[in-house]
């Protein structure tokens, strides 16, 4: 790939890192039990990757970006999230 460098390396393509799907790094995958979820959104707050989306009730994952760190599962106050082995 050739990349043309702009003058001063000015980059107006805000948020363009989203084209890079870090979900491919994952070895463990979080699974949420929405019956148990109390919509406290602690997982959403702590996620380093912005890979958790809030629903009116509960949450959902954006697996394009979730790196499988497991913070969400560890911080869930009602153990509604478990980590399972990623299958490719």
């Amino acid at each position: 790939m050739t990349v043309k460098i702009t003058i001063g390396a000015v980059n107006r393509d805000h948020g363009s890192s989203r084209i890079y799907k870090t979900g491919g790094w994952r070895t463990m995958r979080p699974v949420v039990d929405l019956e148990k979820c109390i919509s406290c959104y602690k997982c959403y707050d702590y996620c380093p990757d912005g890979a958790i989306k809030k629903l009116d009730k509960g949450i959902t994952y954006d697996f394009d970006y979730c790196k499988g760190c497991g913070i969400c599962a560890k911080e869930c106050p009602v153990q509604a999230i478990v980590m399972i082995k990623e299958e490719k």
């Binding site: 980059n11 805000h14 084209i19 790094w25 707050d45 702590y46 996620c47």
Partner: protein, 292 residues
């Protein structure tokens, strides 16, 4: 959807899984909002977020040299004022602990002393992580790093952590605070206070690094919380540099033993019971000074 649901630090950034810096910057930008201009200097934050031609930033940023975040931010602030465009715009300067405690300290001190309307945020992972875990004046006593390795004659880092926030407050700046990624509401409240403050503000944000501290990627928040619950990292804020009257914003009801914190990370795995006792005593003395 509220304003704070906006993701101003975009996904796709290259931080390690479980990186504390990722959570820190994502939440700081949510609190500061889209009318923010930032400067960053070299370090993990730059490398994970600006792989040309991509960028994870949804706000205007400028990348400065390692030591320059504060002085470049000063230039940005003055330029915005001269152009009559500063009204309603926050200027935030980001630096790692290396870029703040050590190499960027002169630029930071000058910026604070000249009274620029800037919020300086130090994201502290207690070593030069981006170049491979070298010790810094932010590295705590007893931590093993690649330049303070543990060995027969070495306990790891032999010097205590520099009290950077107190030093910044001593400049007499309007607002200084310490914060932690384990306490998101407290962190966001402090960010808002800092950017709303007229003049310089300094925020010291504690952000564990799984790669450098050698802990599981899922434990980042738990360890940040333990640092506060044990008294290792004290959350406080001070106005007008009045560090004799600082306000403790998170007082643990009963402090947990420092051992719980040290045992959670392999950078401290070599410490003997005596070493731990010594560190406990130092923490006790510090907490007594802070009044809890």
């Amino acid at each position: 959807m509220t304003k704070e649901d906006l993701e101003l630090f975009a996904s796709g950034h290259r931080a390690c899984a479980g990186c504390g810096e990722g959570t820190a910057v994502r939440q700081i930008l949510k609190a500061a909002g889209p009318n923010t201009v930032a400067t960053i200097c070299t370090g993990c934050l730059e490398v994970i977020s600006t792989g040309y031609p991509e960028t994870a930033w949804e706000i205007p940023i400028i990348h400065a040299a390692f030591e320059n975040s504060a002085s470049v931010a000063a230039g940005v602030e003055v330029a915005l004022k001269e152009l009559g465009r500063k009204e309603g715009v926050n200027v935030i300067a980001f630096g790692g602990d290396g870029g703040t405690f050590d190499i960027g300290f002169q630029a930071l001190s000058g910026m604070l002393e000249r009274g620029h309307d800037i919020t300086y945020v130090c994201v502290d992972n207690e070593a030069y992580m981006n170049t491979g875990i070298q010790r810094c004046s932010s590295t705590p006593y007893g931590a093993s790093t690649t330049t303070s390795p543990v060995g027969k004659l070495s306990i790891g880092e032999s010097r205590p952590k520099k009290p950077i926030a107190a030093i910044c407050a001593a400049h007499g700046i309007p607002y200084t605070a310490t914060a932690s990624i384990a306490y998101i509401n407290d962190l966001k409240k402090k960010v808002k206070k800092a950017v709303e403050t007229e003049g310089p503000a300094f925020l010291h944000v504690f952000a564990p690094c799984p790669t450098g501290w050698r802990h599981g990627s899922d434990s980042t928040i738990e360890i940040a919380r333990l640092a506060v619950e044990t008294g290792v990292f004290v959350l406080w804020e001070a106005e007008d540099g009045d560090i004799c009257n600082l306000k403790i914003t998170q007082k643990p009801k009963k402090r947990k033993p420092v051992k719980d914190y040290l045992k959670s990370q392999r950078r401290f795995a070599h410490l003997s019971d005596e070493d731990i006792e010594h560190i406990q005593k130092e923490v006790d003395e510090k907490c007594e000074k802070y009044g809890f």
